[in-house]
Subunit: 401 residues, 2 copies
Amino acid sequence: MAEQRKATHQQTRALNEGLVLRTLYDHAPISRADVARRTGLTRTTVSDVVADFIADGLAREIGRGPSSGGKAPILVDVVGDARLVIGLDLGEQQFVGALVNLRGEVRHVVAAPVIGRDGADRLATLQRLVDDLRELGRERVLGIGVGTPGLVDTERGTIRWAVNLEWQDLPLAAVLRERTNLPTYVANDARAVALGEYLFQRSDAGGNLVAIKVGLGIGAGIILDGEPFAGDGLGAGEIGHTTVAESGAPCRCGRYGCLETVASSRAILRAATAAALERPSSSLGRRLAHEGGLTIADIEASVRDGDDAARSVVADAARPLGEAIAGIIGVLNIHRVVLLGSVTELGEAWLSVVRAEATRRAFPLLAEDTEIEIGHQNDNVVVLGAVALLLTRELGLAPKR
Amino acid sequence: MAEQRKATHQQTRALNEGLVLRTLYDHAPISRADVARRTGLTRTTVSDVVADFIADGLAREIGRGPSSGGKAPILVDVVGDARLVIGLDLGEQQFVGALVNLRGEVRHVVAAPVIGRDGADRLATLQRLVDDLRELGRERVLGIGVGTPGLVDTERGTIRWAVNLEWQDLPLAAVLRERTNLPTYVANDARAVALGEYLFQRSDAGGNLVAIKVGLGIGAGIILDGEPFAGDGLGAGEIGHTTVAESGAPCRCGRYGCLETVASSRAILRAATAAALERPSSSLGRRLAHEGGLTIADIEASVRDGDDAARSVVADAARPLGEAIAGIIGVLNIHRVVLLGSVTELGEAWLSVVRAEATRRAFPLLAEDTEIEIGHQNDNVVVLGAVALLLTRELGLAPKR
């Protein structure tokens, strides 16, 4: 019984710490009194917790705020770099690892190519990345978050199937935890991206969010009531291989006309290259000749140059994505849809067509309240998502409702 | 403090009652000892609760079960008719009301046509239906559940917008509660249908379910972790007005090519009538000539007669629904999809095409574990869903996880 009371006391303490940290995180610099007001905890409890945070280097006092009559209160701020998280993005072409602080600021990035490697080789590469980052961050490292394509069982930390990485039933969290002795969490990349967008981009849009990662692959991460939704088979949001084009092009999944065959970065670059070769004197054609290959940024620049072929490549890729989003709006009626990933570099020309097509095809009553935006973090979305995963699980930084 | 303890005690009591009732409901006839085992409650608590149920006429002893060594245990069963629920289906052509017992068995049905009536007239009709059913059920009536098309705020009991009923911002639950002094709950019809299917059709498929009502309108009810999901704007599952056909037929929503223009009962009957007029000597043609109009059952019969035109009408309606389901599978990866409503009377010929198209267009990894079935309750799906709503809210009959 004494044991149980003790456990309960420790749990309460941990809950209170999470609550205070979350409040500092959202509202710092903030006075202890305001923390107490916002959390409903007593001032004594808040002062105790804050004292511990300051002792641990997690928080610090930064002087006095404006007085509201009496003595001006001392403001407390989070020390962002007090703790670092190792975030990993297991892309199919390269693995990217980073040290990220508690504010989601990237402090150090390393990358390793993995094209053509087999599953065992890829795992060895991942372990080296983790070792390097661990070495750099030392005792400030709080834990590891991993975003990976495929079907991921986040609860068990297991990758059920990641076809592009040649991993099947890999208990990745356990493998990394054993190696580093650090808390480790693994999630599907699109789901991680959604969580990152949800945690780091403050929004008052409520607890639901659809984040769609549009890059080499296309996947949606669905946040329901603050938590990533995985579905019954861990595959919720795997919209990239839904057929959208009758008699469409072959997909690497072995079928035809999947969304990825028309809307992914690979599909866009292929279409743009074909258009450039057809019209060597166009803006796209000149860029191809000059650089020997095209990037998403080249296509965007050519659209700005007024290149009709580039504009049409962009629109052809945007329309089927808009159609997929119309479907998502009808099914979920979630008001906030955020687009992330390399294809979003196409910018306004692309976004406006995605929006128009989604609006045209969705029930107007639902579409009118839905905001479709390009997300803010474009370089390291999966890394930040993986970090968000660790922070929500380990620090009680439950995303806001 | 004493007040608070008392409230807590009452809450515990209510929770325990719900738990015991749910267990009786799922496993009766069952012994008190087995209820205790399944609920984790003490035998004394279970006996107390069961004694109250028996005193209230909610449960009864039905003799002894098989002995497992010692004295054969007394089995307890639920008295289905001890309580009745008024379930209401506010269809756009008629309002149907019913008295339904705790097992979901319909005891009495009344209906009133509402075609051509205005909003005030429809509300008066509804109130008369409720009065009649109240009169019939008397003190056994536990409460009222309402399933209605449109955007419904179940928490507030308000119909935000039901265009076909000409109701806007109608606090229907409050109106009926005031009139009857009975607990009243209102939900979107498709969401109610999903809850009914979830509660009354036992299944071990876990906490998630997609139920699609395919009738005059088409809407999906999505159950996530045992609860209907409404989305940010109360419109989750409103898939009937998502565009599926480029340059499609005009829809009553004012747009073109919505799913309802090709897959609803109205669309199917229109297409079948056209086919019948074109080929008067076909099975469809003869049925039309003989009966002066076609029903869904006629079309199904003509398919069984081997009428190619009927088969093609059915397939043309099934394919876009399959496409919509493929989209839902990609977004939610929920393994159980149940089809309900009048169109399901088309049976196997329709279902097989829906399944084939959904499977063809969905990511195989997700589709292979998804079961698409026709639901069991076909006549009164909305009524039963409305009853399920009341039961889950009022009796703690939380659907099984």
